[in-house]
């Protein structure tokens, strides 16, 4: 009798201990482009995720449960993103996925997460990600459409109504070009030239020459990210072109200034607020969050803060917020993400709803910048 009791007790302890263990961690997945052509998006994103998951776990986790991060590196390859997403959904069985880093990869995996009914918090910029709204897809990253609006409002304010565009042909560049063509019509801005370049192109002088020879161009807009805009900027500078050059938030990283060198002086761009955290207005609601993130990131990784890392920070903490409010299953997390209100992230103040899975507005979500002396300055 005693022996049986012992066996039953041990068995039940093991069983319940096992179940308790299994329920002990909250498994979340991450798909990042940590290497490859988008590495300056994915590398700070992965660093941010790992660091803050550790930080959260060190202070007790969420409601006593620890977070477990399962992250995969896609090299910005949409096919790899699909493979790793399948792994996260079916093998790792995560409750939610953060990422991918790029628009192209995100569009590739949306069907998978919709089918599996697992929420996705993308870190990419393209507006097609959340327009039209998909039930399980969210992002707290300013869209390319927002960037177009912010840039074109600035252009109108400076009476620059006839412009030329030169766009990268990667997912983000293509998407932003399309958005800008639409927004231009709304704002009454005329596009006199519309050039493109490949992601790995090493010289854009031919395209810029065409723009230079087009009469009446008052400003140039360059949607894209990675090495493309840096080379466009260098070529533009060499050709001694005088019209103001506007870049997207795709270049909101010190890397761009490093590669473009002196050519970056005077370039205008829009950017998420975290990049100029120290220069924000004191009554800007996001200033504290931005400063905290910036200081912690720079102290830990000894490298300048990047807005892309900021997207990862917001995605993680939005997820944490949803889980803190009692969500345990993917569906519950999704619901809690959808009713996220007044969430102050480094990308702006977020208010999600059934029809709005972005939740950002151009006012708190983006700043106009100009590059002076190799550093960002808030533009007037």
């Amino acid at each position: 009798m005693k022996k049986t009791l012992l066996k039953v007790a041990t068995a039940s302890m093991l069983i319940f201990g096992g179940i308790a263990n299994a329920a002990d961690t909250i498994k979340i997945g991450a798909i990042v482009a940590a290497t490859g052509p988008a590495s300056f998006l994915g590398d700070p994103e992965l660093k941010t995720l790992k660091h803050y998951v550790e930080k959260i776990n060190n202070s007790g986790g969420i409601n006593g449960q620890k977070l477990e991060l399962v992250a995969y590196d896609t090299g910005a390859n949409p096919k790899k993103a699909v493979t790793f997403t399948k792994r996260l959904l079916h093998k790792d069985k995560v409750l939610a996925i953060i990422g991918p880093s790029t628009t192209g990869e995100t569009m590739a995996i949306i069907p998978l997460v919709e089918k599996a009914k697992v929420p996705l918090l993308s870190m990419a910029g393209g507006v097609p990600i959340i327009e039209p709204v998909k039930k399980h897809v969210f992002k707290i990253v300013a869209t390319d459409r927002m960037a177009c609006k912010k840039i074109m409002d600035d252009m109108k304010a400076k009476n620059l109504t006839k412009i030329a565009m030169i766009s990268g042909s990667g997912g983000f560049g293509k998407s932003m070009r399309k958005q800008c063509l639409d927004v231009a019509k709304e704002k009454g801005i005329e596009i006199l030239a519309d050039e493109t370049y490949g992601k790995k192109d090493t010289d854009m002088t031919a395209q810029l020459l065409k723009i230079k020879n087009t009469k009446g161009v008052q400003a140039i807009l360059n949607p894209g990210f990675g090495q493309g805009p840096a080379i466009v900027t260098k070529n533009y500078h060499q050709l001694k072109m005088t019209q103001p050059l506007y870049e997207s938030h795709g270049v909101a990283s010190k890397k761009y200034i490093e590669i473009a060198g002196d050519a970056a002086e005077g370039v205008r761009l829009v950017s998420p607020p975290v990049v100029v955290a120290t220069k924000l207005d004191d009554n800007n609601p996001v200033k504290k969050v931005c400063l905290d993130y910036k200081n912690e990131f720079e102290k830990t990784f000894k490298t300048p803060v990047s807005s892309f890392g900021g997207h990862a920070y917001d995605a993680l903490y939005a997820l944490v917020d949803a889980i803190k409010r009692g969500a345990k299953t993917p569906e519950q997390i999704r619901d809690n993400l959808e009713n996220l209100k007044n969430f102050v992230g480094v990308d702006g103040v977020v208010n999600m709803s059934k029809d709005n899975h972005l939740g950002l507005d151009t006012k708190s979500g983006m700043v106009n910048l100009v590059i002076k002396n190799g550093d960002w300055e808030i533009a007037k």
Partner: protein, 289 residues
Amino acid sequence: MTELFAFLITGITIGFVYALVGMGFTVIYNSSGIINFAQGEFVMAGGMISVFLIASGSPTILAYILAIIVTAALGVILWKLTDFSKDSSQVSLIILTLGYAIFLRGLAEVVFDKELHTLKPLLGNGSIELFGTVVSYQMLLIIVVSILIVIALWIFFNKTWLGKAMVAASQNVDSAKLMGINISKILMLNYTIAATIAAIAGILLTPITSTNYEVGMMLGLKGFAAAIVGGLSNPFGAVVGGLLLGVMETLVAGYISSEYKDAVAFIIMLLILFFRPGGIFSTTKAERV
């Protein structure tokens, strides 16, 4: 009309970039009959090693010299690998170079990092204006160096004993051996030369194109296309091939659409392989298979 000249000038400068990369292919093909698909990675090595040496405090010129020496050593290692497998078929050796390329790319990713890096232009940021376009001093340097290398290679292979020995060795291995020429050493020297040229190309190109661990792929492919068009048999051909490629690419981007720029290299390669497999300079010559 000035637009045409502007495109031509830009095309020519880009063409020299491809030519500089393509020359290395011709040197190795000439001596061993194989395509070295790691040539692009040698270019990457020249640039990346320089960047990291300078970042760790080395004086610029020393960094460049060390980068060239290290890349040349990487070339010698590749030679040794092909030497071990010298009884393999040429196809196997080509695949060996491909494997070496992938290895170097992975090594760079681990030893350095995955980010973009650049070098300061050697002659400062200035440029000259020509026909409505600009040519930077760095581009001019590339053009001058490419021409100098072509001349140097010509003198070496045609006027020096060692060079002539190498030509002999590639044309008739047995007779060369009978004449006391050490074939192995000859091949090693060829790989060293190819790697050195590539390293110089990498150092000159990085201020313009920036570099990272995978830049070797695209550059290698374009350089290979330039070499194929020029006939693979001599560095001068690589220059002509590169110029043709650069000009065609720029004209297509300028007059048709920039979307098709990349396709130009591959279309030209296909055309050449269909109609003039020996390159544009070939007469009807027997093809080395």
